[in-house]
């Protein structure tokens, strides 16, 4: 069970991963608050990208509406906390369940009615939009006016209610990102991982071989939605404010999936690398524009868009697969 996590992984890859983890563990001790906030952003996108990758990269189902799962989970945990005083450690389970339920409903409708490819992707956008407008009018969580978590000014960290300084959030996020990485490795090397691979590459052949395609796709959606729920809960307690227009927006969904696509869809380390590259790129562009004195709104995004286009144009499989070949690391890492 556990041995397969490291089976067939070159020693070099393990050492590199260990070094990376060690570096991330000591990072908060040496960096300033600004860099720490960037690191949190990177881990956030890495984790959410990893969650999306289960559905798209592993099982081949393109979701463009993952902001839906982030949003409902964030709202669930936040509402439980504000209205019933239920802390995030208890609320997160309900958030995961609700997110999974949303995913399963969409998956059930789509896969039962044979909706795939572009149509499935558009269905996911449609559900996210539908939910966004619904939350705009959902007065229990203050509709489009935004829902706010109380911010305490105390000096102490309160990990049980997730109230505290960024360092606490950083370590929490690092832990779930590392666990998600292990979970994905475990899934990918197990029976379900190979089923997914078959479904992704040749759905008809997979069906012929007796794989229950419907069930495997549903499992992928459930795991992906459930994992994404965690990043929603994190978002709610880290930023303390939720607006349907932002959290459910299509641009948020796109933002979430750029990392794994740039990094390499279907690879394990791709989402992490992609999140790192994109976040650093975005910040560098901001800083550069600021330093050069070009503070025109939009210029940063234009540059960002051009870089993005260039990456997909010249690296069709993302950054990680060619890099992993050069480093001589395992094939499915």
């Amino acid at each position: 069970m556990i041995a397969r996590l490291t089976d067939g992984v070159p020693r070099r890859a393990l050492i590199l991963l260990g070094l990376l983890l060690a570096a991330l563990l000591v990072a908060p001790l040496v960096v300033d608050a600004y860099v720490l906030s960037i690191l949190i952003l990177i881990l956030y996108f890495a984790y959410t990208g990893q969650a999306w990758n289960v559905m798209m990269g592993f099982a081949g189902q393109l979701s463009l509406g993952h902001s839906l799962y982030v949003g409902v989970a964030a709202y669930t945990a936040a509402a439980l906390y504000v209205h019933f005083g239920l802390g995030p450690w208890a609320g997160v389970w309900l958030a995961i369940l609700i997110s999974m339920a949303f995913g399963l409903v969409i998956g059930f409708l789509a896969f039962r009615f044979g909706i795939g490819g572009v149509y499935f992707a558009l269905l996911t956008i449609a559900f996210a939009e539908f939910t966004r407008v619904g939350f705009d009018h959902f007065t229990w969580v203050n509709g489009s006016g935004g829902f706010f978590l109380p911010v305490t000014q105390s000096e102490d960290n309160d990990p049980f209610n997730l109230r505290g300084d960024p360092v606490m959030f950083y370590y929490l996020l690092l832990a779930i990102t590392a666990l998600a990485f292990l979970l994905c490795r475990w899934l990918l090397t197990g029976r379900i991982g190979y089923y997914w691979l078959a479904i992704r590459e040749e759905p008809e052949a997979a069906q012929t071989l007796g794989i229950n395609v419907f069930r495997c796709k549903m499992i992928a959606v459930a795991i992906s939605a459930g994992m994404t729920a965690l990043s929603g809960v994190f978002f709610a307690f880290y930023y303390n404010n939720l607006f349907p227009e932002q959290i459910f927006s299509m641009s948020r969904s796109i933002e979430l999936i750029l990392g794994p696509i740039i990094g390499g869809v279907g690879s394990l380390f791709g989402p992490i690398l992609g999140a790192f590259v994109l976040t650093v790129l975005a910040e560098t562009v901001t800083e550069l524009m600021h330093a050069l004195g070009y503070d025109i709104p939009g210029i940063k995004q234009v540059f960002y868009g051009i870089c993005l286009g260039a990456v997909v144009l010249y690296l069709p499989n993302g950054i990680w697969p060619p890099l992993r070949k050069r480093l001589g690391l395992g094939d499915r890492s």
Binding site: P297, G298, Q301, V302, L308, G309
Partner: protein
């Protein structure tokens, strides 16, 4: 609620919906042939809208006239986009095409933001506030004109695809890509042509849209989504379907604005989309793939 009011709002919604349909038609044409989902569609429409606003502001040209050169401009843009950017992506997976076009969309939205700023702009021609009486109903003149133009352009496009050699060649590419290559059609050129035509249509729609709504750089993504909803409801690749989808969405927007809240209008459009996807995934007038 007085029935005249409901009927008036419904008619206005249908007329606006025809222009929506024209905008979505461009997306439908492109997808039907090139099989690439243009995620920058609404953004291209916004470019056309700003071109019309500039033409009106600088030389006082009515958008109904400037839409001709604007459509030509967008044709060129679409042709170049397809032959330079998208062609290498034809055989790539969908998510890869998606990222490319999402990147194009990001550049377009923010490029417009850099040039024109975030403020809403519109075109006020001297007949903007005129209305036409149809029995007991009172309808905006601009809506009647633009809806008529939308039907006219769609009919012309339909004739082009049915009657002209180029149109038939494009349909051949759509029906059988390999067959088209075998009989020696220049598929790359025809794909670029199709993308150009689709862009020209959205260009015309964008110019007309300035008479109906306020333009900001940020409406681009909204209209991309709107175009998806319309073409899927009507049937991807079906030309009458795009108009029908546009009318349905326009009507549902108008009705939800009247009976519920204007802010809930997208919800009804999306609800129609979800129902269509579930019960008739090929769209109301689409053929089963």
């Amino acid at each position: 609620m007085p029935p005249e009011l409901v009927a008036t709002v419904a008619l206005q919604g249908i007329l606006t919906g025809l222009v929506y349909g024209l905008m979505a038609l461009g997306l439908s044409v492109i997808f039907g042939v090139v099989r690439v989902v243009n995620f920058a569609h609404g953004e291209m429409m916004t470019i056309a809208s700003y071109a019309a606003i500039v033409a009106f502001g600088a030389w006082n040209i009515d958008p109904l006239l400037s839409m001709v050169p604007i459509a030509m401009l967008l044709f060129a843009l679409g042709y170049v986009m397809q032959s330079v950017l998208i062609n290498p992506f034809i055989n790539r997976p969908e998510h890869s095409q998606f990222i490319l076009l999402a990147a194009v969309a990001i550049v377009m939205v923010n490029g417009l933001l850099m040039i024109f700023g975030p403020d809403a702009r519109n075109v006020l021609v001297d007949y903007s506030l005129d209305s036409i009486e149809i029995g007991p109903l009172l309808v905006d003149k601009v809506r009647v004109i633009t809806a008529g133009m939308a039907i006219l352009i769609t009919a012309a496009l339909f004739a082009f695809f049915r009657l002209s050699h180029t149109g038939k060649a494009i349909r051949a590419c759509a029906d059988n890509h390999l067959g088209a290559l075998v009989i020696g059609l220049n598929v790359k050129h025809l794909y670029a042509l199709t993308f150009g035509i689709g862009s020209a249509i959205v260009g015309a729609a964008g110019a007309m849209m300035t008479l109906l709504i306020d333009t900001t750089p940020n409406i681009g993504p909204v209209f991309t989504l709107q175009a998806f909803v319309i073409v899927i409801v009507g049937g991807l690749g079906s030309m009458p379907g795009a108009l029908l989808g546009g009318v349905l969405i326009g009507l549902s927007e108008a009705m939800s604005g009247l009976f519920f809240a204007p802010s809930a209008k997208t919800m009804f459009g999306v609800a129609i989309l979800i129902l269509v996807l579930l019960f008739r995934p090929q769209g109301l007038l689409g053929r089963r793939p």
